[in-house]
Amino acid sequence: MSELLLEVTDLHAYIGSPRGVVKAVDGVSFEVRRGEALGIVGESGSGKSVMARAIMGLMPARSARTGELRFDGKDLLGLSKQDLRQIWGPEIAMVFQDPGRSLNPVVRIERQLTEGMRRHLGVSRSEANSRALDLLKEVGVPDPERRLRAYPHELSGGMRQRVMIAVALSCEPTLLIADEPTTALDVTIQRQVLDLLRRVQRERGMSLMLISHDLHVVAGRTDRTAVMYAGRLAEIGGSHDVFEEPQHRYTSALLGATPSIEHQRHAPLDVISGSLPSPTDPPAGCRFAPRCAAASAACETEQPPMVDVGAGHAAACFHPVNMKEGELVGR
């Protein structure tokens, strides 16, 4: 068994729109190891959610995927809908941002939890029911016997997200993709759900892809972190390294724009001027060049390659942070 669970190689995911082809994911490569938690960070328009859907095979109509997606030795891009149904659940499961809309509003929690198990694991109804109860206990739903009989609207947002996680875990996936799982939740509840994800990931030895717009959310609770910008990977590395010693200018600018606990009262925050490039007609060179304070002529014409700075920490930047002026990395 290979140590690598998911290998994404030069993945492109394009979506047709009235304004032209949106290059939502435009050449992204990375891998997810068995049992590791990988964070994916990016702002709106970075392509992080489309990438998750591209991996799942949940692309909208009028879209195309190219590149290579290998999961546990299988080529995901070549699979039919039929084959994908065998993958969804027992191999890859997903948790979405809005737990209110992911659960069926007219079906009791118990059936939503047992449906997948009955289908994929071939267990009896009574066995599935007893496993459903265990799952609710595992994700920390209080009074689980009663909640099994409840409908989604009878639960709070935090409880619904716990139930969603239980549904995702029900078929014992090897990879769980959580796309902004706590964005709709209050801070103290977000905290509980993040703790829960980390705990089940460790206890089950499962791989986790935790997608968030907030680098702080991801950095403290994943092993490695990838930073996306405008459809491309800006940086990837050990979460601690990416946070403490960001290499890409975008990563450091993003961190600088977040108010820290040391920030002086009323002092201006560092800003990233300008806005995201057009997703239908992105810049020829580095996608971040038009907003980057360190950009040089090369950045505008050439796409910087991913360069490893050691310990698996790599960035696609000609002028990484702390590099002397005039020096170019990766050419």
């Binding site: 209050d186 103290t188 703790d195 601690h240 108010p259 009262r265 009323h266």
Partner: protein, 326 residues
């Protein structure tokens, strides 16, 4: 407190003074108090951050100051005016001086008006002549970072979230207010855009001597943006004090729990301290005594029977807790 009391008020020097404010909502399941005895005040030029989770009443409090929600009890004074007693006509005049910015910038703008018209909307209602409005619009747009040549004729749907929020800020400033109430003004924006809008607010605040109420659920944003902070829970106040001191040394267990829920990549487990258990209770049937007691790690018997009042725990720092933290 989650309790009541007004020991932290600073008297006549305040430009806005809210005492024992109550706001009631009526639902099919009966009436409940979304705000149940909240007090705070602001000195001229101060920024007060109001933080708390869903259902704590922070937005309702902001709206009630402008009487956008009916006030069920308590006193609100703005400069010399008693807001509770003010007539609708007087309120219309006062709202010129007390402007509000909302969370969702795009839906708070009329989709059929151009940016130029939108920023001068308040001035138009105030009776400023069209020729004067047309002359002033470019300057206001420039001040909020939207060059007039490019943006004046645009419609809200052509703007990004950050640009729309700049229009909302420009519209509020065009009538030269004394008080600006910002209800989650950057929550819908990306981090990089958030910083731009926060810097703009700071800049304009200094330039126009604004007093600001800044309502937010994101604790990180509030600390350095505010002078004072008010922490709310389920319609009650928990803590009030200098924002940087409260963050450094919270006295109320809820404030502590909130701060420990902010992701901190520096610490081993990703957070600075233990998690708060449980869920936020329904405001329809709040717990007796201290409303926070059902989730409080140090709650005692007394907390269930006696509602704590705001009292000074350190110079300038007030908490509504029977057992404040050191």
């Amino acid at each position: 407190m989650a309790g009541s009391g007004s020991a932290h008020l600073r008297g006549d020097a305040a430009i806005l003074s809210v005492e024992d404010l109550e706001v009631e909502y009526h639902t099919a399941r009966g009436a409940f108090k979304a705000v149940a005895g909240v007090s705070f005040d602001l000195l001229p030029g101060e920024t007060l951050g109001i933080v708390g989770e869903s259902g704590c009443g922070k937005s309702t409090t902001g709206r009630a100051v402008l009487k956008l929600d009916p006030i069920a009890g308590g006193r609100v004074r703005y400069r010399e005016d008693d807001i509770v007693a003010a007539s609708p006509n007087r309120m219309r005049e006062l709202r010129r001086d007390m402007q509000m910015i909302f969370q969702d910038p795009v839906s708070s703008l009329n989709p059929r008006r151009s940016v130029k018209e939108l920023v001068m909307e308040g001035a138009a209602i105030a009776g400023v002549a069209k020729s004067k409005r047309d002359a002033e619009a470019p300057e206001i747009l420039t001040q909020v970072g939207l060059p007039s040549e490019r943006f004046a004729e645009m419609l809200p749907r052509q703007l990004s979230g950050g640009q729309a929020q700049r229009v909302a800020i420009g519209r509020a400033l065009a009538v030269q207010p004394g008080l600006l109430i910002c209800d989650e003004p950057v929550s819908a924006l990306d981090v990089s855009v958030q910083a731009q809008v926060l810097n703009l607010l700071e800049e304009l605040k200094a330039k126009y001597d604004l007093t600001i109420v800044f309502i937010a659920h994101d604790l990180g944003v509030v600390r350095s943006f505010s002078d004072k902070v008010l922490v709310m829970y389920l319609g009650k106040t928990c803590e009030f004090g200098d924002s940087i001191e409260v963050y450094a040394r919270p006295a109320h267990p809820y404030t502590r729990g909130l701060l420990d829920s902010v992701p901190s990549p520096e610490s081993e487990e990703g957070f600075a301290g233990p998690a708060l258990g449980g869920d936020i209770p329904s405001p329809l049937s709040p717990p007796s005594g201290c409303r926070f007691r059902t989730r409080c790690p140090i709650a005692q018997e007394r907390c269930a029977t006696e509602e704590p009042e705001m009292r000074e725990v350190r110079p300038g720092q007030y908490a509504a807790c029977h057992f404040p933290l050191d």
